[in-house]
Protein backbone atom coordinates (compact mmCIF):
# COMPACT_ATOMS: atom_id res chain seq x y z
CA UNK A 1 0.00 0.00 0.00
CA UNK A 2 1.43 3.37 -1.01
CA UNK A 3 1.82 5.94 1.74
CA UNK A 4 1.01 9.64 1.39
CA UNK A 5 4.35 10.94 0.31
CA UNK A 6 3.38 14.58 0.08
CA UNK A 7 0.81 15.94 2.52
CA UNK A 8 -0.45 19.45 1.97
CA UNK A 9 -2.82 20.80 4.60
CA UNK A 10 -4.70 24.10 4.41
CA UNK A 11 -1.89 25.77 2.48
CA UNK A 12 -2.35 29.38 1.35
CA UNK A 13 -0.01 31.76 -0.37
CA UNK A 14 -0.88 35.40 0.07
CA UNK A 15 1.37 38.03 -1.47
CA UNK A 16 2.13 41.44 0.05
CA UNK A 17 -0.47 43.06 -2.22
CA UNK A 18 -3.05 40.71 -0.58
CA UNK A 19 -3.39 38.60 -3.72
CA UNK A 20 -4.10 35.02 -2.70
CA UNK A 21 -2.38 32.75 -5.22
CA UNK A 22 -3.27 29.62 -3.24
CA UNK A 23 -6.32 29.27 -1.02
CA UNK A 24 -6.53 26.55 1.63
CA UNK A 25 -5.05 23.79 -0.50
CA UNK A 26 -5.50 20.26 0.81
CA UNK A 27 -3.77 17.57 -1.18
CA UNK A 28 -2.16 14.17 -0.65
CA UNK A 29 0.18 12.72 -3.22
CA UNK A 30 1.25 9.08 -3.11
CA UNK A 31 4.76 7.80 -3.52
CA UNK A 32 5.55 6.68 -7.06
CA UNK A 33 2.45 8.09 -8.73
CA UNK A 34 2.16 10.46 -11.66
CA UNK A 35 0.04 13.34 -10.51
CA UNK A 36 -1.20 15.98 -12.94
CA UNK A 37 -2.22 19.48 -11.91
CA UNK A 38 -4.57 20.97 -14.47
CA UNK A 39 -5.73 24.52 -14.57
CA UNK A 40 -5.98 27.62 -16.73
CA UNK A 41 -3.29 30.33 -16.77
CA UNK A 42 -2.89 32.00 -13.39
CA UNK A 43 -4.75 29.20 -11.60
CA UNK A 44 -1.91 28.68 -9.11
CA UNK A 45 -0.20 25.59 -10.58
CA UNK A 46 3.30 27.05 -10.75
CA UNK A 47 2.91 28.76 -7.36
CA UNK A 48 2.04 25.42 -5.79
CA UNK A 49 5.08 23.80 -7.41
CA UNK A 50 7.33 26.65 -6.29
CA UNK A 51 6.02 26.32 -2.74
CA UNK A 52 6.67 22.57 -2.72
CA UNK A 53 10.17 23.11 -4.14
CA UNK A 54 10.98 25.65 -1.44
CA UNK A 55 11.44 28.52 -3.90
CA UNK A 56 8.37 30.40 -2.66
CA UNK A 57 7.40 30.36 1.02
CA UNK A 58 3.76 29.64 1.81
CA UNK A 59 1.84 31.96 4.13
CA UNK A 60 -0.34 29.45 5.97
CA UNK A 61 -0.76 25.71 6.40
CA UNK A 62 1.62 22.76 6.67
CA UNK A 63 3.48 20.67 4.12
CA UNK A 64 5.07 17.33 4.90
CA UNK A 65 7.19 15.57 2.32
CA UNK A 66 8.49 12.08 3.11
CA UNK A 67 7.48 12.74 6.73
CA UNK A 68 9.56 15.93 6.97
CA UNK A 69 8.01 19.33 7.72
CA UNK A 70 8.96 21.67 4.85
CA UNK A 71 9.26 24.75 7.08
CA UNK A 72 11.51 22.91 9.55
CA UNK A 73 13.91 21.21 7.15
CA UNK A 74 13.74 22.89 3.78
CA UNK A 75 17.24 21.73 2.85
CA UNK A 76 16.43 18.05 3.39
CA UNK A 77 13.29 18.30 1.31
CA UNK A 78 15.02 20.21 -1.47
CA UNK A 79 17.56 17.39 -1.72
CA UNK A 80 14.72 15.00 -2.67
CA UNK A 81 13.38 17.17 -5.47
CA UNK A 82 14.19 17.68 -9.12
CA UNK A 83 12.51 20.57 -10.93
CA UNK A 84 12.00 21.05 -14.65
CA UNK A 85 10.83 24.64 -15.06
CA UNK A 86 8.44 25.90 -17.68
CA UNK A 87 10.90 28.31 -19.29
CA UNK A 88 14.06 27.16 -21.04
CA UNK A 89 16.49 28.90 -18.69
CA UNK A 90 20.01 27.66 -19.32
CA UNK A 91 23.55 29.02 -19.42
CA UNK A 92 24.30 29.77 -23.06
CA UNK A 93 28.06 29.22 -23.18
CA UNK A 94 28.42 26.02 -21.21
CA UNK A 95 28.51 22.49 -22.60
CA UNK A 96 25.63 20.10 -21.95
CA UNK A 97 27.84 17.76 -19.91
CA UNK A 98 29.32 20.50 -17.71
CA UNK A 99 25.94 22.05 -17.09
CA UNK A 100 24.31 18.78 -16.03
CA UNK A 101 27.33 18.02 -13.84
CA UNK A 102 26.97 21.44 -12.22
CA UNK A 103 23.40 20.61 -11.20
CA UNK A 104 24.56 17.34 -9.65
CA UNK A 105 27.13 19.25 -7.61
CA UNK A 106 24.57 21.82 -6.46
CA UNK A 107 22.52 19.00 -4.96
CA UNK A 108 25.58 17.83 -3.02
CA UNK A 109 26.26 14.67 -5.03
CA UNK A 110 29.78 13.49 -5.80
CA UNK A 111 30.99 13.79 -9.38
CA UNK A 112 29.98 10.69 -11.34
CA UNK A 113 30.75 10.99 -15.04
CA UNK A 114 29.34 7.55 -15.84
CA UNK A 115 26.02 8.37 -14.25
CA UNK A 116 25.77 11.62 -16.19
CA UNK A 117 26.79 9.94 -19.45
CA UNK A 118 24.14 7.23 -18.95
CA UNK A 119 21.55 9.87 -18.16
CA UNK A 120 22.41 11.80 -21.32
CA UNK A 121 22.19 8.57 -23.29
CA UNK A 122 18.75 7.81 -21.83
CA UNK A 123 17.59 11.26 -22.92
CA UNK A 124 19.16 10.95 -26.37
CA UNK A 125 21.62 13.70 -25.56
CA UNK A 126 24.84 11.67 -25.62
CA UNK A 127 25.89 12.97 -29.03
CA UNK A 128 25.31 16.55 -27.84
CA UNK A 129 27.30 16.29 -24.60
CA UNK A 130 30.08 18.58 -25.81
CA UNK A 131 27.76 21.06 -27.55
CA UNK A 132 27.23 24.51 -26.11
CA UNK A 133 23.71 24.95 -24.76
CA UNK A 134 23.13 27.89 -27.08
CA UNK A 135 23.57 25.53 -30.05
CA UNK A 136 20.64 23.32 -29.06
CA UNK A 137 17.06 23.39 -30.32
CA UNK A 138 14.17 24.11 -27.96
CA UNK A 139 13.33 20.42 -27.64
CA UNK A 140 16.93 19.52 -26.85
CA UNK A 141 17.07 22.26 -24.23
CA UNK A 142 13.95 20.79 -22.63
CA UNK A 143 15.75 17.42 -22.44
CA UNK A 144 18.78 19.07 -20.87
CA UNK A 145 16.51 20.57 -18.22
CA UNK A 146 15.14 17.09 -17.51
CA UNK A 147 18.71 15.73 -17.33
CA UNK A 148 19.64 18.49 -14.88
CA UNK A 149 16.63 17.72 -12.72
CA UNK A 150 17.51 14.00 -12.71
CA UNK A 151 21.25 14.50 -12.24
CA UNK A 152 21.03 13.96 -8.48
CA UNK A 153 18.61 11.00 -8.48
CA UNK A 154 15.56 12.82 -7.08
CA UNK A 155 12.70 11.00 -5.37
CA UNK A 156 10.25 13.60 -6.62
CA UNK A 157 10.25 15.18 -10.04
CA UNK A 158 8.28 18.33 -10.75
CA UNK A 159 7.58 19.05 -14.39
CA UNK A 160 6.13 22.49 -14.98
CA UNK A 161 4.48 22.42 -18.41
CA UNK A 162 6.93 19.85 -19.82
CA UNK A 163 5.32 19.86 -23.27
CA UNK A 164 5.25 23.62 -23.78
CA UNK A 165 6.71 24.31 -27.23
CA UNK A 166 7.53 20.66 -27.85
CA UNK A 167 6.49 18.79 -31.01
CA UNK A 168 4.30 15.68 -30.81
CA UNK A 169 7.18 13.27 -31.42
CA UNK A 170 9.27 14.69 -28.61
CA UNK A 171 6.22 14.91 -26.37
CA UNK A 172 5.71 11.17 -26.78
CA UNK A 173 9.40 10.53 -26.11
CA UNK A 174 9.07 12.54 -22.92
CA UNK A 175 6.05 10.51 -21.87
CA UNK A 176 8.19 7.38 -22.29
CA UNK A 177 10.86 8.91 -20.09
CA UNK A 178 8.23 9.74 -17.47
CA UNK A 179 6.90 6.15 -17.56
CA UNK A 180 10.43 4.83 -17.06
CA UNK A 181 10.97 7.14 -14.10
CA UNK A 182 7.70 6.00 -12.57
CA UNK A 183 8.88 2.40 -12.89
CA UNK A 184 12.03 3.42 -11.04
CA UNK A 185 9.86 4.68 -8.18
CA UNK A 186 10.09 8.42 -8.81
CA UNK A 187 7.02 10.43 -7.79
CA UNK A 188 6.11 12.72 -10.66
CA UNK A 189 4.04 15.86 -10.40
CA UNK A 190 3.32 17.73 -13.58
CA UNK A 191 1.38 20.77 -14.56
CA UNK A 192 0.06 20.93 -18.04
CA UNK A 193 -2.15 22.81 -20.44
CA UNK A 194 -2.32 19.75 -22.67
CA UNK A 195 -5.15 17.76 -21.19
CA UNK A 196 -4.38 14.82 -23.45
CA UNK A 197 -1.00 14.68 -21.75
CA UNK A 198 -2.65 14.21 -18.36
CA UNK A 199 -5.11 11.77 -19.93
CA UNK A 200 -2.23 9.79 -21.40
CA UNK A 201 0.21 9.57 -18.50
CA UNK A 202 -1.32 10.65 -15.17
CA UNK A 203 -2.51 8.26 -12.48
CA UNK A 204 -4.45 10.99 -10.71
CA UNK A 205 -5.48 14.49 -11.66
CA UNK A 206 -6.33 17.63 -9.73
CA UNK A 207 -8.18 20.59 -11.20
CA UNK A 208 -7.01 23.91 -9.82
CA UNK A 209 -8.68 27.24 -10.50
CA UNK A 210 -8.33 30.64 -8.82
CA UNK A 211 -5.91 29.17 -6.30
CA UNK A 212 -8.35 26.48 -5.16
CA UNK A 213 -8.30 22.75 -5.78
CA UNK A 214 -11.72 21.99 -7.19
CA UNK A 215 -11.31 18.28 -7.82
CA UNK A 216 -8.84 15.48 -7.10
CA UNK A 217 -9.60 12.12 -8.62
CA UNK A 218 -8.08 8.98 -10.05
CA UNK A 219 -7.96 9.63 -13.78
CA UNK A 220 -9.66 6.38 -14.78
CA UNK A 221 -12.34 6.76 -12.12
CA UNK A 222 -12.99 10.29 -13.31
CA UNK A 223 -13.25 9.27 -16.94
CA UNK A 224 -15.48 6.40 -15.94
CA UNK A 225 -17.68 8.53 -13.72
CA UNK A 226 -18.02 11.57 -15.91
CA UNK A 227 -16.73 10.43 -19.24
CA UNK A 228 -20.01 9.23 -20.81
CA UNK A 229 -19.62 8.47 -24.50
CA UNK A 230 -21.91 9.96 -27.12
CA UNK A 231 -23.49 8.56 -30.25
CA UNK A 232 -23.60 11.42 -32.74
CA UNK A 233 -25.71 11.45 -35.93
CA UNK A 234 -24.99 13.96 -38.67
CA UNK A 235 -28.39 14.62 -40.22
CA UNK A 236 -29.20 14.65 -43.92
CA UNK A 237 -31.77 17.45 -43.62
CA UNK A 238 -32.28 19.82 -40.75
CA UNK A 239 -34.46 18.11 -38.22
CA UNK A 240 -37.90 19.62 -37.73
CA UNK A 241 -38.95 17.47 -34.81
CA UNK A 242 -37.29 14.67 -32.92
CA UNK A 243 -39.30 11.46 -33.48
CA UNK A 244 -41.26 10.44 -30.38
CA UNK A 245 -39.67 6.99 -30.41
CA UNK A 246 -36.35 8.58 -29.47
CA UNK A 247 -37.65 10.45 -26.44
CA UNK A 248 -36.78 7.58 -24.12
CA UNK A 249 -33.07 8.34 -24.65
CA UNK A 250 -31.05 11.22 -23.30
CA UNK A 251 -30.16 13.41 -26.27
CA UNK A 252 -29.30 16.93 -27.41
CA UNK A 253 -29.87 18.59 -30.80
CA UNK A 254 -27.54 21.37 -31.90
CA UNK A 255 -28.85 24.90 -32.62
CA UNK A 256 -29.32 24.62 -36.39
CA UNK A 257 -30.51 21.05 -35.98
CA UNK A 258 -27.86 19.53 -38.24
CA UNK A 259 -26.88 16.82 -35.79
CA UNK A 260 -28.23 15.00 -32.76
CA UNK A 261 -26.15 13.45 -30.00
CA UNK A 262 -27.30 10.65 -27.68
CA UNK A 263 -25.62 10.37 -24.29
CA UNK A 264 -24.81 6.73 -23.74
CA UNK A 265 -25.49 5.12 -20.43
CA UNK A 266 -22.53 3.35 -18.77
CA UNK A 267 -24.77 0.66 -17.33
CA UNK A 268 -26.26 -0.79 -20.50
CA UNK A 269 -25.24 -1.06 -24.11
CA UNK A 270 -27.68 1.29 -25.82
CA UNK A 271 -25.91 1.69 -29.17
CA UNK A 272 -27.80 -1.06 -31.03
CA UNK A 273 -31.10 0.01 -29.39
CA UNK A 274 -30.65 3.60 -30.52
CA UNK A 275 -29.62 2.55 -34.02
CA UNK A 276 -32.73 0.39 -34.29
CA UNK A 277 -35.00 3.16 -32.99
CA UNK A 278 -33.49 5.70 -35.41
CA UNK A 279 -34.06 3.31 -38.30
CA UNK A 280 -37.65 2.64 -37.24
CA UNK A 281 -38.43 6.32 -36.83
CA UNK A 282 -37.08 6.93 -40.35
CA UNK A 283 -34.85 9.80 -39.29
CA UNK A 284 -32.56 10.61 -42.24
CA UNK A 285 -28.88 10.81 -41.40
CA UNK A 286 -25.64 10.95 -43.36
CA UNK A 287 -23.29 9.52 -40.85
CA UNK A 288 -22.88 8.49 -37.23
CA UNK A 289 -20.00 7.97 -34.87
CA UNK A 290 -19.22 7.33 -31.22
CA UNK A 291 -17.43 10.13 -29.42
CA UNK A 292 -15.55 9.34 -26.25
CA UNK A 293 -15.71 12.07 -23.65
CA UNK A 294 -12.25 13.39 -22.89
CA UNK A 295 -10.67 14.68 -19.73
CA UNK A 296 -10.60 18.04 -21.48
CA UNK A 297 -14.39 18.27 -21.75
CA UNK A 298 -14.74 17.24 -18.10
CA UNK A 299 -12.19 19.89 -17.18
CA UNK A 300 -13.97 22.59 -19.22
CA UNK A 301 -17.28 21.70 -17.54
CA UNK A 302 -15.71 21.99 -14.11
CA UNK A 303 -14.20 25.38 -14.88
CA UNK A 304 -17.55 26.60 -16.28
CA UNK A 305 -19.34 25.32 -13.19
CA UNK A 306 -16.78 27.08 -11.00
CA UNK A 307 -17.41 30.35 -12.86
CA UNK A 308 -21.19 30.04 -12.48
CA UNK A 309 -20.87 29.25 -8.77
Amino acid sequence: MNKSFIQIKKVSKIYKNKFAALKNIDLNIQEGEIFALLGPNGAGKSTLINVLCGITYHSKGTIFIDGVDLTKNRKKIKSLIGLVPQELHLEAFETVFDNVNYSRGLWGKKKDDNYILNLLKKLNLDDKKNNLLMQLSGGMKRRVLIAKALSHNPKILFLDEPSAGVDIELRKEMWDIIYTLKKEGVTIILTTHYIEEAEEIADRVAFINNGKIILVEDKNVLLNKLGNNKLVFTLDKNLKKVPAALNKYSYKVNKNKSYIEFFLSKEKNEVSDILLSVRKSKMDYLDFNIEKRSLESIFVDFIKKEKND
Partner: protein, 254 residues
Protein backbone atom coordinates in the same frame (compact mmCIF):
# COMPACT_ATOMS: atom_id res chain seq x y z
CA UNK B 1 26.13 20.25 7.78
CA UNK B 2 27.71 22.36 5.09
CA UNK B 3 27.08 21.24 1.52
CA UNK B 4 30.75 21.34 0.46
CA UNK B 5 30.08 19.70 -2.89
CA UNK B 6 27.63 22.48 -3.76
CA UNK B 7 30.17 25.12 -2.73
CA UNK B 8 32.74 23.37 -4.95
CA UNK B 9 30.23 23.21 -7.83
CA UNK B 10 29.49 26.95 -7.65
CA UNK B 11 33.19 27.78 -7.26
CA UNK B 12 34.32 25.81 -10.32
CA UNK B 13 31.29 26.91 -12.34
CA UNK B 14 32.33 30.51 -11.77
CA UNK B 15 36.01 29.79 -12.41
CA UNK B 16 35.04 28.19 -15.71
CA UNK B 17 33.22 31.37 -16.65
CA UNK B 18 36.50 33.25 -16.05
CA UNK B 19 38.30 30.79 -18.29
CA UNK B 20 35.72 31.43 -21.01
CA UNK B 21 36.05 35.20 -20.64
CA UNK B 22 39.80 35.35 -20.11
CA UNK B 23 40.22 38.43 -22.33
CA UNK B 24 37.71 40.46 -20.37
CA UNK B 25 38.61 39.13 -16.92
CA UNK B 26 42.39 39.02 -16.97
CA UNK B 27 44.04 40.40 -20.07
CA UNK B 28 42.12 43.67 -20.21
CA UNK B 29 43.04 44.83 -16.66
CA UNK B 30 46.68 43.82 -17.22
CA UNK B 31 46.81 45.79 -20.46
CA UNK B 32 45.31 48.90 -18.86
CA UNK B 33 47.70 48.59 -15.88
CA UNK B 34 50.66 48.33 -18.25
CA UNK B 35 49.49 51.51 -19.95
CA UNK B 36 49.36 53.27 -16.56
CA UNK B 37 52.98 52.27 -15.95
CA UNK B 38 54.08 53.34 -19.41
CA UNK B 39 52.36 56.74 -19.15
CA UNK B 40 52.45 57.62 -15.45
CA UNK B 41 55.42 55.50 -14.44
CA UNK B 42 57.87 56.08 -17.28
CA UNK B 43 56.72 58.95 -19.53
CA UNK B 44 55.25 61.44 -17.03
CA UNK B 45 56.54 59.77 -13.86
CA UNK B 46 60.17 60.38 -14.81
CA UNK B 47 59.51 64.12 -14.56
CA UNK B 48 57.81 63.88 -11.15
CA UNK B 49 60.04 64.04 -8.11
CA UNK B 50 60.04 61.25 -5.49
CA UNK B 51 57.11 61.03 -3.09
CA UNK B 52 57.90 59.97 0.47
CA UNK B 53 61.25 58.65 -0.72
CA UNK B 54 60.00 56.41 -3.59
CA UNK B 55 59.87 57.06 -7.35
CA UNK B 56 56.47 57.94 -8.78
CA UNK B 57 56.40 54.67 -10.75
CA UNK B 58 56.86 52.71 -7.51
CA UNK B 59 54.47 54.96 -5.62
CA UNK B 60 51.50 54.20 -7.87
CA UNK B 61 51.83 50.37 -7.69
CA UNK B 62 49.73 49.88 -4.52
CA UNK B 63 47.13 52.36 -5.79
CA UNK B 64 46.89 50.67 -9.17
CA UNK B 65 46.61 47.31 -7.50
CA UNK B 66 43.85 48.62 -5.26
CA UNK B 67 42.04 50.19 -8.23
CA UNK B 68 42.01 46.88 -10.07
CA UNK B 69 41.24 44.79 -7.01
CA UNK B 70 38.28 46.94 -6.04
CA UNK B 71 36.74 47.42 -9.48
CA UNK B 72 37.29 43.84 -10.62
CA UNK B 73 36.07 42.33 -7.34
CA UNK B 74 32.92 44.45 -7.37
CA UNK B 75 32.27 44.01 -11.12
CA UNK B 76 32.92 40.25 -11.19
CA UNK B 77 31.10 39.69 -7.91
CA UNK B 78 28.02 41.60 -8.96
CA UNK B 79 27.97 40.07 -12.45
CA UNK B 80 28.21 36.48 -11.19
CA UNK B 81 25.22 37.02 -8.89
CA UNK B 82 23.18 39.12 -11.27
CA UNK B 83 23.70 36.94 -14.35
CA UNK B 84 21.69 33.93 -13.05
CA UNK B 85 18.86 36.37 -12.31
CA UNK B 86 19.14 37.83 -15.79
CA UNK B 87 19.18 34.52 -17.69
CA UNK B 88 16.69 32.86 -15.35
CA UNK B 89 19.00 30.11 -14.09
CA UNK B 90 18.57 31.50 -10.56
CA UNK B 91 15.68 28.99 -10.20
CA UNK B 92 18.28 26.25 -9.85
CA UNK B 93 20.11 28.00 -7.04
CA UNK B 94 16.76 28.66 -5.35
CA UNK B 95 15.64 25.05 -5.68
CA UNK B 96 18.95 23.45 -4.68
CA UNK B 97 19.63 22.45 -1.06
CA UNK B 98 22.11 25.27 -0.51
CA UNK B 99 22.18 27.74 2.33
CA UNK B 100 22.96 31.43 1.89
CA UNK B 101 26.36 30.96 3.52
CA UNK B 102 27.27 28.15 1.11
CA UNK B 103 26.21 30.29 -1.82
CA UNK B 104 28.35 33.18 -0.54
CA UNK B 105 31.40 30.95 -0.04
CA UNK B 106 31.06 29.58 -3.59
CA UNK B 107 30.46 32.86 -5.40
CA UNK B 108 32.65 35.13 -3.27
CA UNK B 109 35.38 32.47 -3.13
CA UNK B 110 35.52 32.32 -6.94
CA UNK B 111 35.44 36.09 -7.40
CA UNK B 112 38.13 36.57 -4.73
CA UNK B 113 40.34 33.95 -6.40
CA UNK B 114 40.05 35.82 -9.69
CA UNK B 115 40.91 39.12 -8.01
CA UNK B 116 43.88 37.70 -6.10
CA UNK B 117 45.19 36.07 -9.27
CA UNK B 118 44.75 39.36 -11.07
CA UNK B 119 46.53 41.24 -8.25
CA UNK B 120 49.50 38.88 -8.45
CA UNK B 121 49.61 39.29 -12.22
CA UNK B 122 49.62 43.07 -11.83
CA UNK B 123 52.51 42.84 -9.36
CA UNK B 124 54.36 40.66 -11.87
CA UNK B 125 53.58 43.16 -14.66
CA UNK B 126 54.75 46.06 -12.47
CA UNK B 127 58.08 44.33 -11.87
CA UNK B 128 58.78 44.63 -15.62
CA UNK B 129 58.51 48.43 -15.47
CA UNK B 130 59.90 49.33 -12.04
CA UNK B 131 62.30 48.09 -9.41
CA UNK B 132 59.58 46.64 -7.17
CA UNK B 133 60.13 45.94 -3.50
CA UNK B 134 57.72 44.62 -0.90
CA UNK B 135 58.96 45.27 2.63
CA UNK B 136 56.14 43.40 4.40
CA UNK B 137 55.02 40.58 2.07
CA UNK B 138 52.72 38.93 4.62
CA UNK B 139 50.95 42.22 5.30
CA UNK B 140 50.66 42.77 1.55
CA UNK B 141 49.08 39.31 1.16
CA UNK B 142 46.73 40.10 4.06
CA UNK B 143 45.52 43.31 2.38
CA UNK B 144 45.30 41.60 -1.00
CA UNK B 145 43.22 38.78 0.46
CA UNK B 146 41.00 40.92 2.64
CA UNK B 147 40.33 43.51 -0.06
CA UNK B 148 39.51 40.81 -2.61
CA UNK B 149 37.12 39.00 -0.26
CA UNK B 150 35.49 42.17 1.11
CA UNK B 151 34.81 43.77 -2.24
CA UNK B 152 33.78 40.51 -3.88
CA UNK B 153 31.19 40.30 -1.13
CA UNK B 154 30.21 43.89 -1.87
CA UNK B 155 29.79 42.89 -5.53
CA UNK B 156 27.67 39.93 -4.45
CA UNK B 157 25.34 42.30 -2.57
CA UNK B 158 25.13 44.64 -5.58
CA UNK B 159 24.31 41.67 -7.82
CA UNK B 160 21.40 40.75 -5.54
CA UNK B 161 20.16 44.34 -5.44
CA UNK B 162 20.50 45.16 -9.14
CA UNK B 163 17.57 44.49 -11.43
CA UNK B 164 19.18 45.81 -14.61
CA UNK B 165 22.62 46.17 -16.17
CA UNK B 166 22.70 49.92 -15.51
CA UNK B 167 22.45 49.41 -11.76
CA UNK B 168 25.09 46.72 -12.04
CA UNK B 169 27.70 49.09 -13.43
CA UNK B 170 26.52 52.10 -11.39
CA UNK B 171 28.42 51.41 -8.15
CA UNK B 172 31.79 50.45 -9.72
CA UNK B 173 31.60 53.48 -12.04
CA UNK B 174 30.29 56.24 -9.86
CA UNK B 175 31.36 55.11 -6.40
CA UNK B 176 34.35 52.76 -6.45
CA UNK B 177 36.46 54.40 -9.19
CA UNK B 178 36.18 57.98 -7.80
CA UNK B 179 36.89 56.76 -4.26
CA UNK B 180 40.04 54.98 -5.43
CA UNK B 181 41.25 57.95 -7.47
CA UNK B 182 40.59 60.32 -4.54
CA UNK B 183 41.94 57.85 -1.97
CA UNK B 184 45.60 58.68 -2.41
CA UNK B 185 46.28 56.08 -5.10
CA UNK B 186 48.26 58.48 -7.28
CA UNK B 187 49.32 61.04 -4.66
CA UNK B 188 49.96 61.38 -0.96
CA UNK B 189 47.22 63.25 0.88
CA UNK B 190 50.00 65.34 2.48
CA UNK B 191 50.21 67.05 -0.93
CA UNK B 192 46.64 68.36 -0.53
CA UNK B 193 45.48 71.55 1.25
CA UNK B 194 44.54 70.88 4.86
CA UNK B 195 40.78 70.99 4.30
CA UNK B 196 41.01 68.38 1.53
CA UNK B 197 43.24 66.23 3.71
CA UNK B 198 40.43 66.18 6.30
CA UNK B 199 37.78 65.46 3.68
CA UNK B 200 39.95 62.66 2.27
CA UNK B 201 39.92 60.96 5.67
CA UNK B 202 36.18 60.32 5.14
CA UNK B 203 37.05 58.10 2.18
CA UNK B 204 37.32 54.47 3.38
CA UNK B 205 39.39 53.49 0.35
CA UNK B 206 42.14 55.87 1.53
CA UNK B 207 42.75 53.57 4.52
CA UNK B 208 43.02 50.52 2.27
CA UNK B 209 45.42 52.20 -0.17
CA UNK B 210 47.43 53.53 2.74
CA UNK B 211 47.70 50.08 4.33
CA UNK B 212 48.76 48.62 1.03
CA UNK B 213 51.41 51.34 0.54
CA UNK B 214 52.75 50.57 4.01
CA UNK B 215 53.11 46.89 3.19
CA UNK B 216 55.18 47.81 0.11
CA UNK B 217 57.34 50.75 1.22
CA UNK B 218 56.50 51.51 4.86
CA UNK B 219 54.92 54.80 3.81
CA UNK B 220 51.32 55.61 4.67
CA UNK B 221 48.78 58.39 5.03
CA UNK B 222 47.23 56.89 8.18
CA UNK B 223 48.40 54.40 10.82
CA UNK B 224 48.66 50.79 9.63
CA UNK B 225 46.39 49.67 12.48
CA UNK B 226 43.68 52.09 11.35
CA UNK B 227 43.92 50.52 7.89
CA UNK B 228 43.67 46.98 9.29
CA UNK B 229 40.68 47.88 11.48
CA UNK B 230 38.97 49.63 8.54
CA UNK B 231 39.16 46.64 6.21
CA UNK B 232 37.95 44.29 8.98
CA UNK B 233 35.10 46.68 9.80
CA UNK B 234 33.98 46.93 6.16
CA UNK B 235 34.06 43.13 5.87
CA UNK B 236 32.04 42.76 9.07
CA UNK B 237 29.39 45.27 7.92
CA UNK B 238 29.08 43.52 4.56
CA UNK B 239 28.73 40.09 6.19
CA UNK B 240 25.92 41.43 8.39
CA UNK B 241 24.15 43.02 5.38
CA UNK B 242 24.47 39.82 3.34
CA UNK B 243 23.12 37.63 6.13
CA UNK B 244 20.19 40.02 6.58
CA UNK B 245 19.51 39.83 2.84
CA UNK B 246 19.41 36.02 2.99
CA UNK B 247 17.18 36.09 6.06
CA UNK B 248 14.70 38.35 4.29
CA UNK B 249 15.03 36.46 1.03
CA UNK B 250 15.47 39.76 -0.80
CA UNK B 251 15.41 39.13 -4.57
CA UNK B 252 16.10 35.44 -3.91
CA UNK B 253 12.72 34.01 -3.02
CA UNK B 254 9.16 35.21 -2.76
Amino acid sequence: MINLLAVKAIYFHEMNRTRRTILQSIISPILSTSLYFVIFGSAIGSRIKEIDGVTYGMFIVPGLLMLNLLTQSVSNGSFSTYFPKFNGTIFELQAAPISGVEMIIGFVGATSTKSIFLGLLIIATASFFIDLKILHPLLMVFFLLMTAVTFSLFGFVIGLWADNFEKLSLIPLIVITPLVFLGGSFYSINMLPEIWQKISLLNPVLYLVSGFKYSFYEISDVSIWTSIITILLILFILIVITLLIFKKGYNLRN
